[in-house]
Symmetry: C2
Subunit: 194 residues, 2 copies
């Protein structure tokens, strides 16, 4: 797919078919992420690709337990508030039951950690689109990365002691069938020319 | 250009020809940035596109003055240390004398500000590559965004009171002639499969 088409037609997908994503497509997506630039060319982003349904269920359950113990204040970010409220109600699955979740981690306290992971995640969103897959940026594990139950579970999956989560990507075939490629309106994101 | 080719062949360019970048190419690059995803679809990234050589020179001079007053400690990030030391020596131009600089700003204190701008910057790096232009992520204005002389100057350029810089992109034709498209080695960025 042409680069500009991939950029213009990417959308966030939040309803997925249960069908697994073929390993060779996930490899292409992850490789697109690995090739993203990094500050000082540090290449310190770790990719944890999770397809094991039991692991995905564990993560959803542990995250729900953590969110359910939190309280939303009047200035809590909308998505975080939604995660807290949905977890208190029960049955909250932060990764939208996607068949694959790619967690990006990077060095704790490193000033370029989030930016580097974001570039990798953007490359992976574009790659998923070009491969007719849907994807959605997932912030919940980043919000919970210093919660012991999440941190310990991710350590067992391969996250190093000196790393924390900077974002994740849910990937799968969209439940709506073929990707909708009509470009979205973007009335925001203003531009100033000097 | 094919998406995967654009991703695999993107490199950072740090030596630029003085030739201006045609406005229509800058518009394509900025539009690629505007179409990047944003948390909650907030679309609150502001793009300030600077081609005015006097403005670029002002920014370089003001930034040099700020860095020259800073001291690098033993744990100062390498690139920031370089900026400080080069500014103390004098003649430091943080934007590599590129003919165009695209500053991305977003809401102060907003949890998705940096991630949203990083996605936009990654799209713009890929777009520049596809258009045979070189680019390089620039962190210096982010590091200085709470320094009054930088903040006040950027306000005059169009950055709003409630915004700060989350990153920038130097854009121009690479001094080395046609883009080198041999993929770079990426031995880092490890992957774990679960």
């Amino acid at each position: 797919m042409d680069l500009f088409e991939a950029i213009a037609t990417r959308r966030s997908t939040r309803r997925f078919l249960p069908d697994p994503v073929p390993r060779e497509l996930l490899e292409k997506i992850v490789e697109a992420g690995r090739l993203a630039p990094s500050g000082g060319n540090n290449q310190s982003t770790r990719f944890i690709v999770i397809q094991d349904r039991a692991v995905l269920a564990d993560l959803a359950r542990i995250a729900e337990g953590e969110f359910a113990r939190m309280e939303a204040g009047h200035d809590t970010y909308k998505s975080l508030r939604n995660s807290i409220e949905a977890s208190k109600r029960g049955g909250y699955v932060f990764h939208y039951d996607a068949p694959a979740l790619i967690v990006t981690a990077n060095k704790k306290g490193y000033g370029n950690a989030l930016a580097d992971c974001a570039c990798a995640l953007e490359n992976m969103m574009l790659a998923a689109n070009a491969l007719d897959l849907g994807s959605c940026w997932i912030n919940q594990l980043r919000w919970l990365t210093d919660h012991a139950p999440i941190e310990e579970y991710l350590r067992r999956l391969g996250m190093a002691e000196d790393e924390w989560v900077c974002g994740a990507l849910a990937v799968g075939y969209g439940a709506g069938g073929a990707p909708v490629r009509a470009p979205l309106a973007h009335p925001g994101n203003p531009v100033v020319w000097r």
